[in-house]
Symmetry: C2
Subunit: 379 residues, 2 copies
Amino acid sequence: MPHSAGQPHDPSPAFENGTEWLRGDGPASDVVMSSRVRLARNLAGLPFVHRAGAADRVHVLDLVRAQVLKAGLCEKIMWANLHELGSAERSLLVERHLISKQHAKGKPASHPGSVLAPGPAPAGIPDDPRGVAVGLPGERLSIMVNEEDHLRIQVIRSGLALDEGWAEIDQIDDKIEAGLDYAFSQRFGYLTACPTNVGTGLRMSVMLHLPGLKLTGDIEKAKRAAQDMNLAVRGFYGEGSDAAGDFYQFSNQTTLGKSEKVILQDLQQEIVPQIIEYERVARRTLQSKRATALEDQVYRAYGTLTHARLLTTEEAMQMLSHVRLGVVLGLIKHVEQRLVNQLMLLIQPAHLQRVLSREMDQEQRRVARASLLRAKLAG
Amino acid sequence: MPHSAGQPHDPSPAFENGTEWLRGDGPASDVVMSSRVRLARNLAGLPFVHRAGAADRVHVLDLVRAQVLKAGLCEKIMWANLHELGSAERSLLVERHLISKQHAKGKPASHPGSVLAPGPAPAGIPDDPRGVAVGLPGERLSIMVNEEDHLRIQVIRSGLALDEGWAEIDQIDDKIEAGLDYAFSQRFGYLTACPTNVGTGLRMSVMLHLPGLKLTGDIEKAKRAAQDMNLAVRGFYGEGSDAAGDFYQFSNQTTLGKSEKVILQDLQQEIVPQIIEYERVARRTLQSKRATALEDQVYRAYGTLTHARLLTTEEAMQMLSHVRLGVVLGLIKHVEQRLVNQLMLLIQPAHLQRVLSREMDQEQRRVARASLLRAKLAG
């Protein structure tokens, strides 16, 4: 089947104020930036992605795209073939948490060990056919096609809202399944490329802002406690990324043997509220016992962001983290939390180049980043 | 002879704008904070200070005080008996560069090896009789009595003005000598407690602000070059102090075998102008090749000083150094160099407590220092 998903959709996400995870107004948004629910799904009768040749993957892409566009998942679906996008556009999608770094990078089309489709892609077929569907407005929904699994469906909500996210993704999953045959085993549940996802195929995660625990020095203790409760702790951009700006992603590890409802209840009602409470206690301790040191950190960060002429992403994230804490605690009154959240996205390399409509080397980005922050934060 | 120098003079120097070394308007004041000329002198027929008992030192104090007060050295002389001052007042004098740290601290009145006056001070005589005369207005002149030598006379001038300083101190020296008999040898010249001062008893020094050489990394090279030319390089508060705020004191080492005129000419015409030129070249290099990095340093420093809630003396000095550089280079336009100079004095611990009229522990001083800097520098 020829590749047919190339209609000219605008692959660049809009810079809208409504981007869900930047809104900063969900439940417990003083600590919880966003909640994310994702499902791993595969199509029955087709090889898993890492065993599939290019033609198989194009087939998956076409099937999923057709169903996703007609299923009425949300107001509007933006579709992009990632193998047709330049690296700047793909980086934009990563920075917006719409696709994984792995999905942006892609992988070889054929694998030496593949019995089903050995050798290079046939003429006229892309090397690594893969795509993404993004739900608008708000970019709450995204569906990666041909990442590790045929489908990786994710719903993001502002604040602590795994329950709402679950309700939404459950409906979306049903609508997609109405037109596609999922690989499912009565014994194991949903089948996935990696055994750690088998069963529910569900991963729930929350992005927590923990500057208080960082400043009191209790962050490692909190991470260990979470790990003891079977949570994985990752950075701002997921697996393998650093905890930029004191953001930590906590997610469940178990997908097999526990129902979705139990996973949801554990996280939403028990574990995450506990971590939130640790962070709030840390902030209260700082406010009562080390108020001046706290203010010093917050205002220095603001002073640096409004005066520096060169800023790396890492430093800017760290400073924005302290400013965000200052805003949440009422120390900085004239800056809105949503603006700080937005800046955390806009200072990322690809967004910075997009905002300024030109490619830049690292040094130029540092200048542009500092300049943008001064302009946006100036009192 | 009873101790008679205790008339109630105000031992606290005035906080006047006219303080000479803070004016910031002398020659080459972009680099040279101040020039200092000092003479070491001793009275004939009396033991050197480290060999003198308390009664001898009181005698020296009385002789010098009487002559200094009547010799018409300048508009007004403020006299203080240091052994009668509290440590806060003595620290103020150190911070204003009017007395040495050693002179503030004092020393035991009698020395085990002293043949002239063994044992403790007799009843009614202070343990460590010592004083200082300060010339007003401007505090250009100060005379330490019973420091290492009976007299240490110093004249400070703003900018590079060793010649004016020398002309002034030469006259003052003559006026003092008119009523006192100096220890002098036809063969060696003026006799001093330490052989390194014998001969002219002269030391000339300049306080240079070298942030450019610090930022380009050439400061150590410049220091070595100065040492090769027989200059001693010290910090902001002289011997044993650190180079706070990128200030370095360069002074001549040789007092014997070179006339005052030759020492003066070497420093004022040859060596110091060379170091000044190194610094100016470094600044021009920064401006032409690393303009953004330079601006980044300058504005970050300003941002920190106008936002921090806790500042140590060391950090404040370093930030003020960068702000001073920014003012001199025209990057910061609304702040005057004189204000930056004054702040470098006002943020020192004793001055800070004086300004706020209360004693403070280190943490309180950090708060007060940050608060003062914000108030004074706010645009």
